[in-house]
Structure formats: C-alpha cells, structure tokens
Symmetry: C2
DNA sequence: TGTACATCAGTGAACGCGCGTTCACTGATGTAC
DNA sequence: TGTACATCAGTGAACGCGCGTTCACTGATGTAC
C-alpha cells in the first residue's frame, strides 16, 4: 500500500503550512480514514464474531448473511470465500456457542464434591443461556437436527452434554445418564422459560432468577414432594 | 341454507331415474366440482385450522400468511378481513395451542392423588409437545414475549401454567409455586430436547421416550442424588 | 533484487424468489320499504 | 313478494423489500526464476 495515495495524508504533510492553524482538534480526532485493507487477513473469524454481534443486536431471526457481512464491514458476497452457505456459517456459530458453554463449564470439573459440581453446572448453564439468549436459541435450533451434516457442531454438542453426564455419574454411578437428563432438562427448560419471557407478568411470587437454577436443582436432588 | 340449491341433491333425487345405471361408481367418487361459494362462511376458523395444518407440513418457519391462505383455499389477501396482521393470526394460533394443552390437561384435575396428578401432567405436557412440535415452538416463540399485545394469548398461557401450579400446591401447600416451576421447567426442557433432536445420536442408553417424562418427574419428586 | 504470473480474496451488479401489505374491484348477502 | 341499496367478504394485481446465491471483475499476495 502506498501512503501517498491517501488524500488525507497528502493534506497533512504538504498542504499544511498554507492552511490557517486554528482548528486542529477535529483533525486529530479522526486522523486518517480506517486502513481498510483490501485483503482482510482473518475474515472468517471476523465474520463469526460479527455473527455473535448480530445475534445480540438483531436477535436470532435477524441473523442473515447480508447482515453479518455488513457487521464485519465487507460486501455481502465476501462470506462465500469462507463458508459454503448461510447454514454452514450458522452451524459454525452454533458450534462456537457449544464451545463457549464447554469453556464456561470447565472450572466445574475441578470440583470434588459431585453434588456441588452438578449445582454449579446448573447455574453456569442457565447463566450462559441468559447471557446469550439468541445464540442459545440458534444452538438448539433447526440446525441441531441436521448435525450429521455439520460434524464439528455434533462433536461440540455431544461434548457439552458429556460434561453433564460425567458429573451426574460421579454423583450416582448406577443411574448417571438418567440423572444427567433430569438436570439437563430442568436447566434447559428453565433457560427457555426465562429467555422467552414465559415467566414475565405471571403474577406469582418467584425467587430471584439468578438463584432459580441452583434452587430448583437442589430441590430435584433432594426430592420435591 | 336451502337444500334444493345443492346440485348433488338434485341429481340424487330427480335425475336418477332417467340415467343409465351402469357407470355409477366414478360419478359417486367425485360427484360435483367443489361448491366453492364466494363467501366462505367461517373463514376465520378455517384459517386457524389451515395454520395448524401448515405447521404440521411446513414447520414453524414455513408458516406464512400466503401459505395459510393457500391451505385454506382462498386468495392471500382474504385473511386481512379476519386478522389485522400475520402476527395477529399467529398469536391466535398460539393461543389455540395453549387451549389445546389446557383441554389435554383437564382430565388430570379429577385425580385426587396429587402426586399421580403431577406425574400425569408431565406426561400430557411432553406428549402434547411431541404431537405438535411446531405449534409448541410457536407457543413459546417471540410472540409470547409480546403477550401484552395479545391478551387472549396471555390469558391462555397463564391458565395453563395455573393448572400446574394448582397440582403442585396440592402436593406441597407451602412451596407449591417452586415445585410447579421445577416440574414445568423439567417437562419444558425435555420437550425441547426431544423435538429439537438434541438427544438423537447421542450414543448413550436412554429409556423409551414415552416413559421419560413420568420417570424423570418421579425422580425429581423422590430426590435424584 | 526484480519481474512474470498463478492464485487468493475481495467487490458490486444482478438473478429470481417469497414475503407482508395495500388497493380498487366485485360478487354475495341482508335489510328497509 | 319484489326492489333498491348499504355492507360484507372475497379477488387479483401491484407495491417495495430483503433475502441467498451467482457471476464477471479486480486488487493484493505469494512464488518461481
């Protein structure tokens, strides 16, 4: 890239002495138009980050190829050099969601108290869903049923569920799978009810949402009725 | 309505003696082109039924005003004489979904054993979701967060949750709401995991899906760990 | 170090499509007289 | 019972829009010599 081509640079070096010196602050605030190289360097990752941002701002239904490309600052045809299709991109976004969940669950593997481990997994799971609701919906959306077409998504999804099974099996070696499914269903349902607004305006006393996951899981472990 | 207007009736009574008797089967299979009156009579309900059918055949993402109108056999502008917008129609479809759930739950109210009542509610809930997965997704979709705009939807949703609360309160008068939320979350999450295909190909032994709801709820009531 | 050239990774125009919604219209219905 | 007329409930054309995807292109990069 030849810097001399930029008009802003030319103005600053050659033409500056001829100008009146007064208004220099606005010039310094935006010194040079963004470098904006023709080749992006790491557009694939940038597109995935942009997709996360679009999920936050536009919701799960507002995520389109064109919107993601716009958020990444490239033309809407550029993503096709990195993803075969919109579904391919979305499956990768979903996969990263599961990887984010796995990373958030990772600290719980160091807990030796199996019961506490399961309780913390519950908290993490629901907090994750509440922090990234649209990504959560995408992770369990229509693409999950087609996970055979997206092996990386399948592996990440299985691995995250495997962490729940491992904790449940540590607590109950004989019926760990069933206990895992109980805990997973409970947290998954609570997450959905919370992020879908099903509980809002229900005119009934509920504990603070931040405590719900632990509280309900405790009750399920201790016996509810 | 005047019965004499129907051509089918006329054929059967007056014109029958004059006809040759041989080929009567093809005539009777498709006796007359459909009456297709200009005025439908009960298009509003027909559109709602058509929407249910579209949900079954095209899934939750395939339900559009035009598709519903086509399924009902009318032009795509006709629904606007009965619904203010697509969202208005969809909110009514979702409301009918909750009403269907309420109707399915109704027999459980006659059970005197509170524990058995809660167990059957679990079964009915998950079976309902599995029987009508797309409708289930619509019921808890984006419109539910906007239930203030659709009072009938809000009332139906609250009433269905109220049935769970009533059963849970009968079992545990002190902490009924919490128990209801536990049971509801558990069944809601299990429903989602089942209909979204999250459990498929998970390479782990699971009990038959028809038994899962009761089994997991039993374990939550008795204590899981 | 320079040059020719293949390859990569962008651009922007264009494609066809289905969507929700609006509009002027028209056929059917119900009612007052 | 007939007739005039307002109202209702359809039709079909048209609107603008955003979508995923394709295409010919071009600027940038890397490599062989």
């Amino acid at each position: 890239m030849k810097a001399a081509k930029s008009p802003a640079t030319v103005e600053k070096t050659a033409a500056q002495p001829a100008k009146k010196p007064a208004p220099k602050t606005p010039r310094k605030r935006a010194p040079v138009p963004p470098p904006k190289p023709y080749h992006h360097g790491n557009l694939r990752d940038s597109l995935l980050d942009a997709a996360d941002a679009v999920l936050l701002t536009h919701g799960a239904s507002g995520i389109t190829l064109r919107e993601v490309a716009k958020a990444a600052g490239v033309s809407h045809a550029a993503p096709y050099h990195h993803f075969a299709s919109l579904d391919d991109l979305l499956a990768t976004v979903a996969e990263r969601g599961f990887q984010r969940l796995i990373a958030a669950l990772e600290p719980t593997t160091r807990l030796t108290n199996s019961r506490e481990r399961l309780l913390q997994i519950s908290e993490v799971y629901v907090n994750c869903a509440r922090a990234h609701p649209s990504q959560f919906r995408l992770m369990f959306g229509p693409l999950l049923s087609r996970k055979r077409e997206f092996p990386a998504l399948q592996i990440a999804a299985e691995r995250s569920f495997g962490m729940v099974v491992a904790a449940a099996t540590a607590l109950d070696p004989r019926r760990g799978t069933e206990l895992a499914l109980l805990g997973w269903s409970l947290c998954h349902g609570l997450s959905h009810l919370l992020i879908d607004g099903a509980l809002e305006g229900m005119s009934m006393p509920l504990p603070p949402t931040a405590l719900l996951a632990r509280q309900l899981t405790e009750r399920a472990l201790d016996g509810g009725g």
